[in-house]
Amino acid sequence: MKASSKATGYLFSLALVAVATIVCEFIRPYLVPTNMVMVYQLAVVIAAVKLGLRPAIATAFIGVLAFDFFFVPPRLTFSVHDKEYLVTFSGFIVIGVIISSLVAKVRKQSQEQARLSQQAEQARILQAQDNLERALLNSISHDLRTPLVSIKGAISALRDKEGDRLSSHARHELMETAYDEAERLNRFVGNLLDMSRIEAGAIRLNIEPCDIQELVGCALAAMEPRLGDRAVLVDLPAGLTLVPLDMVLLVQVLVNLLDNANKYASDHSPIEIRASVDDERLSIAVSDRGPGVSEPELARLFDKFYRIAVPERVGGTGLGLSICKGFVEAHGGKISAKNRDTGGLTIEIQLPLAGRKEET
């Protein structure tokens, strides 16, 4: 491969000299031979820029021979009558070599620069991956360990001999803590599994006609223990609306959106779910009456491991919304967030139905 490209380089040198010779033949009636050297010098410069150092020097030498043979009297021989031409020849060669090496140096520098910027780009990508991996490790060590700390602490307090002196109220509190934290740990492991399925492109959709009311009902049932006494206002299309989607994934999306709203909503304020269907799409919006999200943070909301700056009580894995994004996109849909005029955040998902909706 390399040898053949080298050979091609020298063939191009020959071709350049041939072109220069033809040009000189045309201008021969108007110029003395010494000035034709300029045309050959041009061929050397072109060879230096396009082909590199060695083909350029080769062009210079072949050029001298061609010039001597075709144009230096006596023509069509290599002999030279006027010895002054020998000065012209050596001048030509020296200038050709100098130009060639200068051009070659410039070429090499620009190639190196390109390589350097390529390396910088690769380093930047590696850095970004590194940051993500670090975020992942931080998240895992924090989110796995925090519940484990509470679980182990609570259970060891109950298990140790010292545990006997605990009041029944304290024992109850410790057991509740261990139970709640085990639930949290389980959710985090579930989130990690969902995320890895999305990352691996291993989402297999199981599309079936689903009743929107049933979908919302399942999400609310799953969220019930976490919602406590928070009200959820539900606004769904009247009558039965069946839409083709993967119910298991969409329930998970709604649970994550409700969980997110529940974390950020101010005390006792309700969460709202609104769904609408037209011929083209299903839209479901979940809104809270919390603090909302600053404009620069809105765009990053669906990034992996992104957590907006929040009070410590709002523990989250930073995965919930990116999982929503992954599942919605697996349906060919879109997810977006915007602040409400009245305060709080609305996250809306839109799934294309492409005329597959069935109404009864």
Binding site: A182, N186, G190, L193, D194, R197, N206, E208, P209, C210, D211, Q213, E214, V216, G217, C218, L220, A221, V234, L236, L240, L242, M247, V248, V251, E358, T360
Partner: protein
């Protein structure tokens, strides 16, 4: 399965799970005056224990090292109707459906609470040991008189279409247990309707509108996403 429980009055539970920690936890949580536990740590061990120990209910982990859990269910079903409750992890909805369609009675998603497990075990035992169909089904504010075909929700008589009534009766005969979509379709509409899941969705929706106080938060017929439906038994 004619054998019910032994002379001490204890119900016999066979646990088939390869995880020692889970067997240990189940042993401590379930062993009592009410239940006697036998443990098997593999599919083959479970199959021979099912024949030798004659359990009243089997708790089966689907992820066994030697045999596919679904095969264990099929091989037990060749000779026994003993209730089988499958213990499975969350993200394998397909496995749950396959296990139920192969003849499992119910499933529990790991990790589960003991309260939930006890409720499932008792519901399974009640179904397998009841001698004759009870003429009246009661659960929460729902009352169904199966001899008179009367349905009352919150004390008010409800008019159901014949299909809705058949569906409700199917749920009552499997009360507390999950039924897969394909099982319902086959029983109510026949094998030709196996793929007609929207027919099922429509009927469920209509039935819920009639018997649930808030159809968007059903208390009687609950949905198990990706698996099927369950008629919950309430006090």
């Amino acid at each position: 399965m004619t054998h019910t429980h032994d002379s001490t009055g204890q119900q016999r539970i066979l646990v088939i799970d390869d995880e020692a920690a889970i067997r240990r936890f189940l042993h401590s949580a379930l062993s009592s005056e009410e239940f006697y536990l036998h443990e098997a740590e593999s599919g083959h061990g479970g199959l021979s224990a099912a024949a030798a120990f004659r359990p009243d209910v089997i708790l089966l982990d689907l992820g066994l090292p030697d045999l596919d859990g679904i095969d264990v269910i099929r091989r037990i079903r060749e000779w026994s109707d003993v209730p089988i409750i499958v213990l499975s992890v969350r993200e394998r909805e397909d496995d749950k459906v396959a296990a139920l369609d192969a003849g499992a009675d119910d499933y529990l998603t790991k990790p589960f609470g003991v309260g939930e497990l006890l409720a499932r075990i008792r519901a399974a035992l009640r179904r397998s040991q009841k001698h004759a169909d009870e003429p009246v089904f009661r659960s929460g504010d729902l009352m169904v008189d199966l001899t008179m075909r009367h349905v009352l929700a919150d004390g008010i008589e409800i008019q159901l279409t014949p299909t809705e009534y058949d569906l409700l009766r199917l749920f009552i005969s499997h009360a507390g247990k999950v039924i897969t979509h394909s099982q319902i379709l086959k029983q109510i509409w026949g094998t030709a309707y196996q793929e007609q899941s929207q027919v099922l969705r429509v009927t469920i929706s209509n039935l819920r509108k009639k018997i649930e106080r808030d159809p968007s938060r059903p208390r009687h017929i609950t949905t198990e996403p990706g698996v099927g439906y369950r008629l919950r038994i309430q006090d």
